[in-house]
């Protein structure tokens, strides 16, 4: 009789014998992991949102008057090579004036007189992937003789950087805390279930069961129950997320929400893994308390 087969049979039988305990444990695990899963989904989306917002940051490099097209192209190539730069476009002073005119809209007539002495400058518009890249770009071109001025909403970038950094830190911290809470809840629940069977365990020991004959079926059972909880949680969260996603798509299409497929794999994986590890750890910890010779 192999130990694994024995564990499997015993865990199955034991779950059948104590359906109440088993269901209570599965549901506790499911709820704890549901909270974790919800949070992970929210975190993934916040992260995505932060990146999306950061991608809106542009840097404008205003060029001095009369820069030769060749010089300008080499500068453009230089900047394009900087990590984090996603797109770089040349905007001539004529285009810039047209844009200003568009912005004025109904008041565009105001600009009518200034066509011949256009006071605007040629510029390179840089789109960056993250707020952090802005500094790199500024640093790189600041000294160039071609460059008149760099404009990038310093303050906005600084805020964005600190907001997203705080967000990431917060998410990490919260994930850690929630992970701990989940661990504690599941472990607690498995310990209670082992506690409810402490008499049984002590009897088993008295009739000659080794530690492993008692331990492994219980650990196995802990894993099965916690994993069951994890699956329930993943399923529930997936269904709700999909539903919310569709609702959001209809009403709030401008917000970038990750599709289910992009996140469920990762989140589900983390949740099930957490469940399994915690289930095993919970059972082992529980027994350290109640298994004494």
């Amino acid at each position: 009789m192999s130990l694994f087969g024995y564990c499997l049979r015993e865990a199955r039988k034991s779950i059948g014998r104590n359906p109440f305990l088993s269901i209570a444990t599965v549901f506790t695990a499911a709820i704890a992991l549901l909270v974790l899963a919800t949070f992970l989904l929210g975190a993934a989306n916040l992260q995505n949102l932060a990146e999306f917002v950061e991608r809106q940051v542009n840097v404008a490099i205003f060029l001095r008057d009369g820069v030769a097209p060749a010089d300008r192209d080499s500068l453009k190539a230089n900047v394009a090579g900087i990590a984090g730069v996603e797109e770089i476009t040349f905007v001539s002073r004529e285009t810039a004036l047209q844009r200003l005119r568009d912005k004025f809209g109904e008041n565009a007539a105001l600009l009518d007189g200034i066509d011949e002495f256009n006071p605007l400058r040629d510029s390179l518009e840089v789109r960056v992937g993250s707020a952090a890249a802005v500094d790199l770009v500024a640093e790189a071109v600041k000294a160039s003789p071609l460059v008149d001025e760099i404009s990038y909403g310093k303050e906005l970038v600084a805020r964005l950087v600190s907001v997203t950094r705080a967000l990431r830190l917060g998410i990490l911290g919260l994930a850690g805390l929630l992970g701990l809470a989940t661990l504690f809840l599941i472990q607690n629940s498995i310990r209670l279930s082992v506690f409810a069977r402490r008499e049984e365990i002590s009897i088993m020991r008295l009739v000659g069961a080794t530690d492993s004959v008692i331990r492994w079926p219980l650990v196995f059972e802990g894993i099965v129950l916690a994993a069951g909880g994890a699956l329930v949680a993943t399923l529930a969260v997936g269904v709700v997320y999909q539903w919310l996603w569709q609702a959001m798509g209809r009403n709030l299409a401008f917000l970038p929400v990750l599709p289910l497929a992009a996140v469920l794999g990762r989140v589900g994986g983390v949740v099930v893994l957490t469940g399994v590890v915690i289930g095993a750890a919970g059972a082992l910890l529980a027994m350290r308390r109640w298994l004494r010779v």
């Binding site: 049984e200 009897i203 088993m204 009739v207 000659g208 530690d211 010779v293």
Partner: protein, 237 residues
């Protein structure tokens, strides 16, 4: 086989359950332990399968000092000792059959072997018909007999029975005691704590009497040398 050397046991609240007990049991011997309630009989038996350790003195089983046994070896010691517990100690969520089979399962026996021997043991105590019942569905005597079946199912070298007939009618009790006596004839060392004076008188074996934690008598009754009595087969360790 079993030897107590100057064993004392002090529980919490300073309760002295055993005080300087010295005593030896040879292979195949059949010994009754008698004495008033609270005299220390169960404490003494519990030391044989190492549920309790002595506060002072030493207990040897098959030459091994139990206090110095590694924790990992305890289960193997216990598999060689069948125990009928005074309070039965059946697993509440297993059927009669599974309770008895459990003592074989832990030894890693093959499943057809488990089935065969468990059935046999249940037959012996007259519980074949109740094998699917859970402990709470059994009468007191049935629970006691289940505990007995579990104790003998893996043919242990030592059998320890704590009040094994307290819930049985005199006739069934006598039958089962006769059975224990028989297995001691086949080489098993048997230790029985009991209050059933009529049975003790009838079997005429060695009787150890405890009072307030001390052995006050250790008699080889008449019949000790009788040809059919297990008591005759006792060899000193």
């Amino acid at each position: 086989m079993i030897e107590f050397r100057n064993v004392s046991k002090v529980y919490d609240h300073n309760i002295r359950a055993l005080a300087g007990v010295d005593f030896r049991v040879g292979k195949g011997e059949f010994v009754f332990v008698v004495g008033p309630s609270g005299a220390g009989k169960s404490t003494m038996l519990r030391m044989v399968y190492r549920e309790e350790l002595p506060s002072e003195g030493q207990v040897f089983v098959e030459g091994r000092d139990l206090a110095r046994l590694r924790a990992a070896s305890v289960p193997y010691l216990r598999r060689g000792i069948g125990v009928v517990f005074q309070d039965f100690k059946l697993l509440p969520s297993r059927t009669t059959f599974e309770n008895v089979a459990f003592a074989l399962e832990v030894t890693g026996a093959r499943s057809y072997e488990i089935k065969r021997r468990t059935t046999q043991a249940l037959e012996l105590v007259g519980l074949r018909g109740r094998q699917r019942a859970y402990p709470h569905e059994l009468s007191g005597g049935e629970q006691q007999r289940t505990s007995l079946a579990r104790a003998v199912v893996n043919s242990p070298k030592i059998l320890v029975a704590d009040e094994p007939t307290g819930n049985l009618d005199p006739q069934t009790g006598r039958q089962l005691m006769q059975y224990l006596h028989n297995i001691s004839l086949m080489g098993t060392t048997v230790l029985v704590a009991t209050h059933a004076r009529s049975i003790v008188d009838e079997f005429q074996c060695r009787v150890v009497r405890l009072e307030r934690g001390r052995i006050v008598r250790d008699d080889q009754r008449a019949g000790y040398f009788g040809p059919l009595s297990a008591c005759a087969d006792g060899e000193e360790v």
